[in-house]
């Protein structure tokens, strides 16, 4: 599943970039994030309770940040598993200055398996978009 998303955050690129690699900010902005701890340089372990409405699952997983080119781009890779299946993939995140704000473009390649793949892509893709939207909204909220 390929997802492209764009969002605008009312902060300059440096602040947005710093937030995207700050575990404390991420813990507060990632939807459903219950725990997030650094396990090494740019490597994290997290527990997320995510889903939409009453359809939520708990996932544990790892994330790593690579290809950092502050304040322009970074790549986030992630893998998680939980009762409803697994999620893994990567997201290339690019930051572009847009006046005082920053446009965040995210190109994600997401692989899901198990039940969440079996129940059809309609809700999964829509849910993924919604979660990403929520994240960027939270992020924007944190930075303004």
């Amino acid at each position: 599943m390929k997802l492209s998303m764009s969002s605008s955050v009312a902060a300059d690129r440096a602040r947005v970039f710093a937030a995207l690699i700050d575990p404390e900010v991420l813990r507060r902005t990632i939807p459903g994030c219950e725990t997030l701890a650094a396990t090494g340089p740019d490597a994290y372990e997290a527990t997320l309770k995510i889903g939409v409405a009453g359809l939520k699952g708990t996932y544990t997983g790892k994330a790593a940040i690579a290809d950092q080119q502050p304040p322009e781009r970074l790549t986030l890779s992630f893998e998680g598993k939980g009762g409803p299946g697994f999620v893994r993939g990567s997201a290339a995140i690019a930051l572009t200055a847009d006046g005082d704000a920053t446009r965040v473009d995210c190109e994600a390649d997401v692989h899901v398996g198990g039940l969440i793949a079996a129940i059809g892509s309609r809700l999964v893709e829509a849910a993924a978009r919604k979660l990403a939207d929520d994240f960027f909204r939270q992020l924007a909220g944190t930075l303004t």
Binding site: G54, K56, L115, G120, R122, E125
Partner: protein
Amino acid sequence: MYPANFDYVRPSTVEEAVRLLAKHGDDAKLLAGGHSLIPAMKLRLARPKVVVDIGRIAHLSYIREAGGAIAIGAMTTHADVQASKTLRDKSPLLAETASHIGDVQVRNKGTIGGSLVHADPAADYPASILALDAEIDVVGPRGTRTIKAVDFFVDLLQTAVAADEIVTEIRVPATAKTVAYVKTEQKASGFALAGAAVVIGPNGVRVGITGVAAKAYRAAGVEKALAGQKLTPDLIARASAQASAGVDPLGDIHASPSFRAHLAQVNTRRALEQAVRRS
């Protein structure tokens, strides 16, 4: 297909149900007809700790005239909506829509309140609720309030109903016979790939679309193009082309975003034509 452990409570009044929701917060989930919640629980996609069964609350299943409107209790089954003479005589769109939902078993158990609150993006009712400009009453710890249909559907599987509130009544206006619901069904589930509901009234045309985007929506472009005009076949065809304007259609194995958008236009045109024929 065995759900995770849960506690089961069965209030006998709306007030008691509201108290239970307040008490259990996010852990609680309301059980109405069970046709969305139970499958999700069996798949363990939903794992509520407490299931609050509102199936035995008296006086939540009815269809009656109330002023110029028709009031429908939230626990009214799709089968009862489909069969209601009151609705067929005074506001036939919902009855027609209900006949498209699932199969006989689903219609005999599923409820209008449950379906609306679940807000599946491809459910049938939302298109008609929007086209009818219905009102939805909810009761919660802060009392009773009324939500307009346009404000009701917020996002994917999300409505304006708060977690501690219960839908109690849906009110739809009396309409002429010039209404229609036209749907292309997803063959496996019976849900709508695209469904268009149309109400042609003295004050204009309202069009609700379901199945196409993350939530049901009013086709504002279509309504605007038709406003104050004589509904000729030509105009209908031109206006219907706006049925998916400005929305981000969903895609899956059953239909690509462009096919869903196309079906929205075709079904809007057909619903309008049918409604006109019924005048």
